[in-house]
């Protein structure tokens, strides 16, 4: 296998290296890539979409269709993880461990009880539970709102600075994952239920595709935000800018929910009862 791998690698590498000789030099401002399609984006972005961050305007408008499917890819991955891993039967573990919230006493039961005790009295903890570090937990608890705020900022400010739906969505998702890591999965699940993640990931993509379809219904082409101008009561250029904002929100929502969904399924082998 290693010899085969080496042979393949040498072969492919050789091909790639020999082809690279024909390439324009790195950073050459006169290369075809710099001269053919991209100048229009740079020169017209402000004029046509009123978005200074050219990456955002290309991402969500000129090539917005790609981005819609890119969001769909994320969504697909979330659904795929769910489909592959999620299972309902409880962990066949030897015991269940509960902590009485008021007293802090830890109770271990040899098998799962018939009825789950009320979660506000007895908190179920993992069977490989170790007391969490108080400092980490509290620092994270303090940090998480700020992280989320930043995530929202990244989504909203994608027009003017690096960032946008993806980055913001991942940051929002990461904040929930951080909660799951520093507290535990059940706490995170209480904040963001499984159904909520599932629905939000679908709805996020739906917002994107829905904005496109709305444009289609308004008589434009699919994703032609300018066609939304009559309902938004703004001029077409501003409508494009606003359309980009809507789809970014959709992307953020979908990405956040999907990241959480994937993490939960991976970290608990699909049982969603206990995480790392």
């Amino acid at each position: 296998m290693k010899a085969l791998a080496l042979a393949i690698v040498v072969l492919v590498g050789g091909l790639l290296i020999s082809a690279t000789v024909d390439f324009p030099d790195w950073g050459d401002p006169a290369s075809p890539a710099a001269l053919h399609v991209s100048p229009r984006y740079i020169e017209k972005s402000m004029e046509e979409t009123s978005v200074p961050n050219i990456v955002t305007s290309v991402l969500a408008d000129y090539r917005g269709f790609d981005t819609m499917f890119e969001t769909t890819v994320v969504f697909t991955a979330g659904v795929a993880c769910f489909l592959l891993l999620r299972r309902r039967e409880p962990r066949p573990g030897p015991s269940r461990v509960y902590r009485h919230r008021a007293s802090g006493v830890i109770v271990e039961m040899s098998q799962a009880p018939d009825t789950e005790p009320a979660p506000e009295v007895f908190k179920r903890i993992d069977d490989d539970w170790t007391p969490h570090d108080l400092i980490v937990m509290n620092v994270c608890r303090l940090l998480i709102p700020f992280i989320q705020l930043f995530g929202l900022y990244v989504i909203a400010h994608g027009h003017h600075s690096p960032g946008g739906g993806f980055q913001g969505g991942v940051i929002l998702g990461a904040s929930v994952i951080l909660l799951a890591l520093s507290w535990d999965l059940r706490t995170a699940s209480l904040r963001m239920k499984e159904v909520a993640t599932g629905l939000m990931s679908a709805i996020g993509v739906f917002i994107y595709a829905g904005v496109g379809a709305l444009a289609l219904a308004m008589g434009g082409n699919f994703l032609d935000y300018a066609a939304l101008a009559p309902i938004l009561r703004v001029d077409p250029v501003a409508a494009r800018s606003l359309g980009i904002f809507f789809v970014e929100v959709g992307v953020g929502l979908a990405v956040m929910a999907t990241m959480v969904l994937i993490y939960k399924n991976l970290a608990s082998e699909g049982r969603l009862d206990q995480g790392l």
Binding site: T56, P162, G163, F166, Q167, A174, L276
Partner: protein
């Protein structure tokens, strides 16, 4: 764009890539992969691809690494190669 930084980071990236594949402990590999992603992110920031760098920082270095750690934690850390 400062080509010295560019080159230095490129070399570090290569080292991290080889390292991530060479260590025997999968958790170590996951962490080294996180470092690799982060260096990549720096590289792209140096090249002026700020959006890509931002995404790589959050996705590659952040969430991907968490996924790796979660998966390794749920399976095994052992690796023969």
């Amino acid at each position: 764009m400062i080509w010295q930084i560019d080159l230095a980071v490129l070399i570090l990236v290569l080292i991290c890539a080889v390292g991530a594949l060479a260590v025997k402990d999968l958790m170590g590999a996951a962490i080294l992969f996180g470092a690799y992603s982060f260096l990549m992110c720096i590289l792209w920031a140096v090249m002026g691809a700020v959006d890509v760098a931002f995404t790589e920082a959050s996705v590659g270095a952040g969430v991907s690494t968490v996924f790796f750690v979660a998966a390794v934690f749920r399976t095994s850390r052992r690796s023969k190669d």
